[in-house]
């Protein structure tokens, strides 16, 4: 059978060494990225300035997962983007090789293990679990039963103070019109079991303090999931002032970052009360608002932070009438000068929106001593004092794998520090909107 590529419209994909088992791909094609725990052989591959994740599996499974990820993406689920399915691989002796699923590596994303290899901030763990709970709720609202929820099967991106989680492995999942309580319960139970297993493993590797109780960590996902699910879907019954209650409920859901698609309203039998159940469409309320106003495509908590700053700017400049115009000015006067003040050599460290968020934090810190500190002063101080000490976790493109040759641990994860990379390879910094083009 001839090599067959489905999905990607990029003939250069043919140039990758498909006639060699993935395990033995030449090091110069590989990108050194920390990997999670996987059933399959997975490698990150450098491809035209990007990184692709290649996973070997059997052809029908690869195709199924490709279609599933595509469908999930179409529905707006936070997941990796499928790139291609490569089938019909044979080695030089004509022996068949496994098919491969190729996905685009999510920029600035990290597997949870990479976050543990740094000095673990107290609440990193709980923030990761919370992010996974949000992801699971979002997927369940879309009707996706995951079938193998774990920290390993997700990737994490910094999102202001929190993390955002993305689905990486959809191979065990199914899409349904609605999930049954049994499907949700099973997913939660699996998540709990898998997370506890992952914590045990981290402790066995001496990467997690023995004082952390894996069982407590596992229980947290269950608690957080249930809390969020109930807030998003519970029925409430009101006797009076219904309009006000509905407005409050919608506001509360928006504050959580979710939009309400429709409301089911049912009058109780005696007609004296109204029962309301919101149908939450999806998370991303703030990021959608920011995108509409500024063209900036950032994550939810970053968007919330940016919008707060923008709203403040509107009040200060007295431009409260026209939201769009104010947004335009804020972008030109505040946001762009701030992120452009970051020297090129540091741009690989963080996404622009995350930089902005950190500069805001830094200004707040400086303002304790000098309340009149300006944004340009804050950014200058941030670039000088904070950014250089930031760990090099966000950009791992463009390395030779040989740099890690002796620094790969049992799980195949590099233990060495990563070398600098070229910022031109990071799309996020090239796609900053220019105010002049925003109309």
């Amino acid at each position: 059978m001839a090599l067959k590529i489905t999905g990607a419209v990029d003939p250069e994909l043919l140039d990758l060494p498909w006639s060699v088992p993935l395990e033995t791909w030449p090091k110069d094609t590989l990108a050194a990225l920390p990997r999670g725990i996987s059933r399959h052989v997975v490698r990150f591959v450098r491809f035209r300035g990007r990184v692709l994740a290649v996973k070997e599996t059997v052809a029908p499974m690869a195709k199924r997962e490709f279609d599933m990820l595509k469908e999930l993406g179409r529905m707006g689920a936070p997941c990796v983007v499928p790139f291609a399915v490569v089938d019909g691989r044979v080695d030089d002796n004509g022996e068949e090789l496994a098919a491969a699923l190729v996905t685009e590596h999510l920029q600035f994303s990290l597997p949870y293990r990479a976050l543990f290899s740094q000095a673990l901030r107290d609440n990193t763990l709980t923030r990761l679990i919370d992010a996974l709970a949000v992801l699971l709720v979002r997927l369940h609202l879309l009707g996706f039963y995951w079938g193998d929820v774990s920290l390993s099967n997700a990737l994490f991106r910094r999102d202001a103070e929190a993390f955002s989680a993305y689905l990486v492995d959809a191979e065990t999942g199914d899409l349904h019109r609605d999930l049954t309580p049994g499907q949700r319960a099973y997913d939660i139970d699996l998540a709990r079991t898998n997370i506890i297993g992952e914590m045990f493993d981290l402790q066995a590797a001496a990467e997690l303090d023995d004082a952390v109780d894996p069982l407590e960590v596992g229980d947290r996902i269950e608690e957080r999931y249930k809390e969020l699910w109930n807030t998003l879907t519970e029925k409430q019954t009101y006797r009076e002032n219904v309009r006000k209650h509905v407005a409050e409920r919608v506001q509360a859901l928006n504050d959580l970052g979710f939009d309400v698609g429709e409301l089911d309203m049912t009058q109780t039998a005696d007609g004296s009360e109204l029962t309301i159940r919101p149908k939450v469409v999806d998370a991303g309320h703030h990021s959608r608002r920011l995108l509409r106003l500024t063209g900036l495509d950032v994550q939810e908590n970053q968007a919330r932070r940016l919008l707060n700053d923008m709203d403040e700017y509107r009040v200060v400049t007295g431009n409260e009438e026209d939201e769009v115009l104010a947004a335009h000015e804020w972008l030109a006067d505040v946001f762009e000068p701030t992120v452009r003040a970051v020297p090129r050599e540091y741009r690989r460290k963080l996404e622009p929106a995350q930089v902005f968020h950190e500069v805001l934090d830094h200004r707040w810190f400086l303002a304790e001593k000098d309340p009149s500190v300006t944004m340009p002063e804050a950014v200058a101080s941030y670039v000088k004092n904070v950014l250089p000490t930031h760990p090099d976790e966000q950009a791992v493109l463009g390395h030779e794998i040989s740099e890690f040759e002796d620094g790969v641990d049992a799980a195949g994860m590099p233990v060495a520090r990563e070398a600098p990379t070229h910022t031109t390879m990071i799309h996020a910094w090239q796609n900053l909107p220019r105010t002049g083009q925003l109309d």
């Binding site: 725990i37 319960a185 139970d189 506890i196 045990f200």
Partner: protein
Amino acid sequence: MATVTFDKASRIYPGTERPAVDSLELDIADGEFLVLVGPSGCGKSTSLRMLAGLEDVDKGSIYVGDRDVTHVQPKDRDIAMVFQSYALYPHMTVADNMGFALKIAKVDKAEIRQRVEAAAKILDLTEYLDRKPKALSGGQRQRVAMGRAIVRQPQVFLMDEPLSNLDAKLRVQTRTQIAALQRRLGTTTVYVTHDQVEALTMGDRIAVLKDGLLQQVGTPREMYDAPANVFVAGFIGSPAMNISTFNIEGGAANIGGNKIALERDVVGRMTDADAGKLILGFRPESLDRVAPNTEGSFPVEVVVVEELGSDAFVYGQLAAPLAAEGASVSNEGQVIVRVDPRDVPKKGENVWVKIRPGEQHVFSSATSDRLSDAVTTDKSAAV
């Protein structure tokens, strides 16, 4: 360990009229290995998920032992879904990989070790218990994954296409291992596959489903020798049974002027609804090559010959024009013949074949249900 009972259990998805699983009635014995098999969309996975608690049961009930679990949460059903390929934790020993679920369930340490050791013995992993997964071969890693489910000592194992992500070679190997392991453990097991070869080789009994309806349940031998209807006849067996519709004249099927005599009892079971036609099935190995124009024989035009070394199969077409009008069977007129691999005919040639006595499968053309008795192939095993 326990029995499993589907008592007229149905699953009707919201917004659909036809049930995905329609009044399933199935009694699975304690310790039995039951395989649910059928084409995609037949309801086999849905049935398994109903038992697991992942799908609602809209009508009827499901029991594990005497306990009605119809509305019980998945984790409280004492059932284990077995995946063939868990990711193993690289820094934990094999023993810890197998036993960590018990640690979560707060089982006593000594008890965990004892259960892990017992499972390791069954899985031939005893000497690896204190090593890391890295030191294991692919097959051994899979057994560790099995061990994870075994140490929990559930009442029932559920497996949903567990071999689907393995390559062909490993699939055959693992198939044998799972079947052997289940027999050693004696734990009631329900296994889903779309592959009838997998079903035949693994199951104590097989349940064939189609369009949400149970077609037949029986041992592999029963399913092979006495398929209850045309669907099961065509589904079980590889290469598939030859099935075509023929006019019945004077107690014989008419194949382009050649007469194949049918048993009198069978012909007597025809009804008016059959309108003088019957569906006749015969397996590729039920045909003998004979001299042209031998009584009861008919010619087959050779289209392709598949040589497999130990066997050879002729894929052909009934040479004479086809019998009945309004035929209801797919691949009408296509005939597969097992032939001596040392004497294969050429493409385009006509071979004359005759169905061995007692090896006809006759079905009603009106209902597709079986009319003839079971075929007993044992007597011809020596041929």
